[in-house]
Subunit: 354 residues, 5 copies
Amino acid sequence: MARFLKSREESNGKSPGSLIFIGDQKVDSTKIRLIDYDSASLTEKEIKDIHAAAHLKTTPTVTWLNISGLHDIEMIQNIGKIFQLHPLVMEDLLNTGQRPKLEEFEDYIFIVLKMVRFDNETETIFNEQLSLVLGKNFLLTFQEQPREIFKPVRERIKKSTSRFRKTGTDYLAYALIDTVVDNYIFSIETLGEKIEDLEDDILNDPDSDVMEKINSFKREINYMRKSIRPAKDAIYRISRLDSELIQEQTLPFLKDLEDLTSQATEAIETYRDLLTDQLNIYNSVIANKMNDIMKVLTIFAAIFIPLTFIAGIYGTNFEYLPELKYKYSYFIFWAVMISVAGALIVYFKRKNWF
Amino acid sequence: MARFLKSREESNGKSPGSLIFIGDQKVDSTKIRLIDYDSASLTEKEIKDIHAAAHLKTTPTVTWLNISGLHDIEMIQNIGKIFQLHPLVMEDLLNTGQRPKLEEFEDYIFIVLKMVRFDNETETIFNEQLSLVLGKNFLLTFQEQPREIFKPVRERIKKSTSRFRKTGTDYLAYALIDTVVDNYIFSIETLGEKIEDLEDDILNDPDSDVMEKINSFKREINYMRKSIRPAKDAIYRISRLDSELIQEQTLPFLKDLEDLTSQATEAIETYRDLLTDQLNIYNSVIANKMNDIMKVLTIFAAIFIPLTFIAGIYGTNFEYLPELKYKYSYFIFWAVMISVAGALIVYFKRKNWF
Amino acid sequence: MARFLKSREESNGKSPGSLIFIGDQKVDSTKIRLIDYDSASLTEKEIKDIHAAAHLKTTPTVTWLNISGLHDIEMIQNIGKIFQLHPLVMEDLLNTGQRPKLEEFEDYIFIVLKMVRFDNETETIFNEQLSLVLGKNFLLTFQEQPREIFKPVRERIKKSTSRFRKTGTDYLAYALIDTVVDNYIFSIETLGEKIEDLEDDILNDPDSDVMEKINSFKREINYMRKSIRPAKDAIYRISRLDSELIQEQTLPFLKDLEDLTSQATEAIETYRDLLTDQLNIYNSVIANKMNDIMKVLTIFAAIFIPLTFIAGIYGTNFEYLPELKYKYSYFIFWAVMISVAGALIVYFKRKNWF
Amino acid sequence: MARFLKSREESNGKSPGSLIFIGDQKVDSTKIRLIDYDSASLTEKEIKDIHAAAHLKTTPTVTWLNISGLHDIEMIQNIGKIFQLHPLVMEDLLNTGQRPKLEEFEDYIFIVLKMVRFDNETETIFNEQLSLVLGKNFLLTFQEQPREIFKPVRERIKKSTSRFRKTGTDYLAYALIDTVVDNYIFSIETLGEKIEDLEDDILNDPDSDVMEKINSFKREINYMRKSIRPAKDAIYRISRLDSELIQEQTLPFLKDLEDLTSQATEAIETYRDLLTDQLNIYNSVIANKMNDIMKVLTIFAAIFIPLTFIAGIYGTNFEYLPELKYKYSYFIFWAVMISVAGALIVYFKRKNWF
Amino acid sequence: MARFLKSREESNGKSPGSLIFIGDQKVDSTKIRLIDYDSASLTEKEIKDIHAAAHLKTTPTVTWLNISGLHDIEMIQNIGKIFQLHPLVMEDLLNTGQRPKLEEFEDYIFIVLKMVRFDNETETIFNEQLSLVLGKNFLLTFQEQPREIFKPVRERIKKSTSRFRKTGTDYLAYALIDTVVDNYIFSIETLGEKIEDLEDDILNDPDSDVMEKINSFKREINYMRKSIRPAKDAIYRISRLDSELIQEQTLPFLKDLEDLTSQATEAIETYRDLLTDQLNIYNSVIANKMNDIMKVLTIFAAIFIPLTFIAGIYGTNFEYLPELKYKYSYFIFWAVMISVAGALIVYFKRKNWF
């Protein structure tokens, strides 16, 4: 499967809104974690049946349902019915090749993001889809598999003094997206450090491994960019929605998110440029090394080929070759050869070849 | 004929709106398939004479006329008369080199798109023109030849419970365009996979075939881009038309189309960049190989040329050449040569040449 | 004279609006062709003195005056007086290095375009300036020399049933510009075909002629771009003018022109990119060939230089050189050499060098 | 730590607004310098406890508090409380990896900038964060360490005739930012001079040091750009704020700042392009040198290898080798060799190889 | 001093508006030339003391004061006082590193431009600052040194029938800027011609001089661009100012200026692209030449090294070397060598190497 585009091949020709899971199934069973809180009380539990949470939809408490695992189409369908989601939202929830975006519906806001993870061992970027449905009193989040990324948020919610307990679902959604964006920055920084470290290798030990690294880092940074650039647009639009779902006191936090994603995308562009520069420098280094190699070859060849020729002359078997008889010939022969070699060495020195 | 631009040479100097078929005739005879439906009833048949469908223009049922084969100018002219199409629309219908676009007229919307097909064997992109004329109660579609691409849509229409039976021509038009766009994504993914697979060949077996592939994939992706980029603009404009022909309930579907075409064009740009990067890496690999070749040459030459020279000295026939008489000369000669060779080997090792 | 910029050097420091012909005089004498028509009647003739047409300025018939040859400043001055043209318009008419543009004045619209011609023999683009002054009942066109490019338009005007006879000067202006734009597309296609054909040569026979062609095609396409890109802007603005001179029924035709020029400029960008890609591929092909050459050299050198050295050893004249006396030495000598050569051949085969 | 992006790793998962110092602690203790003035009076002193300045917040005098050293979180917290700063502002103050930006709050404007310093010895750019909080009667500035950069401003304030004494905090803020921007320009100029000086080295002495310099200057200019480009946006927005905090008479000064930052960013782009051009030229110079080296090698090899071969022929020991006996053979042999050498020299001369 | 950025180092930390001349003093003494005219009368003279012209500020005649030489700060200060210029305008007047710009003040418009001059001998661009202060009845122009560039304008003013005498200061300002822009176009054309001429040298005689020229022309065109691009923005804004100082009848002339600067900047971009293309072609030519050199080397080496080896074999002194005794050995030896050489020549011919 092409990494930079997941086709909807299976859904091809099907009715839009038909529910098909597109992606790799990463967990055995779908899990639903429910957190329901207001300033006074808090409930946290795992539930099996989504209907158990249906009544919370309309209560004034903040209800956060986190669904991990997306292959259980029936359950997703039930969620869709209970929360009255548009068929296209349902389809997007299940398509893990979805492009990050924000869509506003009458009663809720639908946000698709990518969570990004840099695997230090394989030096590869993995991404996973996170969808958020932000309603008046509820927030649904959909992950491909359970991850501990949101644990700190859960911990903070539990503290009765935390800002969460005084604010609504919009602040919760912000906090989750903030965690995702922090992860972007952390991943870019980790990869960026490796990219910046390449420089020494390029100048000092430019073997083909370095080149392969430049290449693979470029691919990974491009892959990251594909997830983060549209996310920036989506986040930018959140605070500009004229929606009742976003309270005014949350706006400065959303503005801060914008700054962070701007920083992330700028850093991505900077590293892309850096990698391009590095490949150029690598090529220059290789060209320089080639020149050095050729200088060595040329110096050896240019000095010894003429000398060998001179020796060859006096290796001929002509009967009348006067110099051969002369007693000091051999010493003159050496003198000539040393002079020739010396002259050539001076010549190459003058050309600054060594 | 230049692949990236079909000129209107034949129509050159002719009156605008004069009807000339521009393109390759791909079928023998033009076929008209008529589907006429509302929530209660459905008719599907092939008709010979377009006048047989003329009365359906004003009935409240959804009337879909699919014309495949564009060389029958008379029939096209009849269609134009019955549905009162502007002369320029008629001209565009027949010009298969038309650029994708959307045009709004008083009573209908005219859309030109390219259907794209990636031929796996020749690894070439083919495109065919699809024109849509969307009226209040009718939808005309014009293809260069009959293709089964819209069969799933027809099947879905036949189900009396499908969304089609409850909606109008705008939803039908959406469904057809959606099929076309799905095809874009599928074609890009197929080509993209091949492009991503190139990488290994570039690093491990960078022969000139690889380079030719990079080149030909770049050409194909550019060819695809030429069809899809203007399509994106056209699709973007559909949902922003303030037209009675587009019902509000269709808007989220059109928005979804926009997302898909954005994804398609982004993927195209990504693959274009990737191919550029690949050619750069290919060149670096070639330069590296050149360095390796030159090192081999230089090592051989630098070691054996001096040795040959030394041998040459003692191959001279000077009468007074003292060393030749000395009993251990030959062994000293070998010792000297081994030392010289050894010194050079150490020198090259230190330079990290092997 | 720099091809990409014609300076107004001669007019330097002169009063703006001072009339100086800038360009190469391409004809001996200026010709004025007059066509005057309405739905009922038509007159076509050549006139010597522009005053003969002065009275037609205000008649309700469409009056088209085509002036070919721009060096006759006095005549141009007379035209300016009769049709009350702004001094800057007069200056622009005479400056054949003018950039395509559109300017709206109170009573007329002034349009400057370039006609483009690709000469197949020299593979060079030539351009010529076409200026239009579109008034209520008259259209003035100024060419550098008489060309048959507008003949089809004249023919169509003569047919009493043609659209021309029912419409005004704006449609006539459209028809002429349409002819010019058709020519752009035709020229780009002709050059484009040649560019696309280069590809085979690059891969199979990459001599320096190919490189020169890439270079010269790039220059020509740039030259074409210089004429067409500003023309696109000018054409775009025509249909957006809120002018009484443009009738509503002409708007769809102008919209069509916009599409054509968009197609032209897109094709130009595509071909520019293609040529850049081609030069890159060309360089890769050259680098590949270099590698092949160096492999041949290295294989020959690496095999025969050591062998020559071995032969050299037994060509030395040491008195005590035991191997020389031994009867089978010569055969062992051959065996050693064949082994060395064989080992090296195996080594290079393993490196995939041949 | 990646130089182009400082992650908030430590704050990861923490509540937004939690105060953590991110960066290198550059001083032992935080210092607060207070300057309080109006047209009549002026006080300047260092204070230990921020509460000593709390009452000045509301007095009509201009109160400038410069805090250098950011690791003392408690003190920052106190400042935040006294001046009622938003938690996110507090967080940003402490994060030295913050991107330059401007944010408007109800009672104050928050500006983050980078001060840039080019170290001539290491030829490296250092940057330090400067945050400004501009209120009605107070200006807070936060630096990572005390620097003498603002000393001239302090001197000017002390002169009772200076413009400062007649204007408000906005002019003071302008003056400080102006100092920062002057520093940008000075740093770019210093680096730019070095870049422009590289050119001679590239053409005359293109060793690998030059290439490393091109590379490192590119990195530094990119690093500078990262600080200055967003600063430009922030500065642009200051004069467009519809805020009571900015007086109309300060606007021309802010406009002037815009011009300066435009100049700075343009110069950065120019130098980036210049460095790219320089690397290209460097590569061409290297390729040229390679050609020269290869010409030397080829000339030596092509002349002496054939000659050595001829000598080799007459070094063979065939019993029946007629030429050997002939008395003038040796001289003919020389003649032949000189002719061959001469012919080759003429050949290479004609090819313009030397 | 960096050529692409003049820092305000000296003014660093000084109060904004403090008057310091930044640049090279190019003349000994400052000269003031006064031209004062209306339709009836005209005065032209040089004045020493600016106060002699102070009364003309308010008279309805057009008063043009041209100040050449900017180092006389006192005089500039006097001018500033008389014409009530803003301190920042005063500062900009004296800073010859100012970026071209337009600023509108209540009573006057301040315009900074660069005059550009291409020195044919050194093939270098020089620029000089021209500042204009356009008031209701006066125009101040500031040059770094007296130049004859505005002489034609002065001549035209003297003709009592000229347009100048019927118009105001705005037309005079236009005429001066027009002269400056004409100079841009002329300089670009002169340099452009040289650039276009390079092409032949690149293809036929690509020595390193050509490369240096490409490089230096690129630098010069970039330098020119730095002056002209912001000038374009400034000129664009003049005609869009809603200022009483610009009369409506002057607008078409300003529009014409816009066209000219557009043409200038487009030509600059075209030549920049051309130079980039030329360097690419140059590199391809060099690579081609390298291939040719290597072919010569390889052909010589591949033919003669094996032959030398064969000769070497029969130069060995083995006692039992049967071929040596055989009578026709020598002739067979020749036959073998000619065959080997012939086979190799055929091989290389087939590879199209010569």
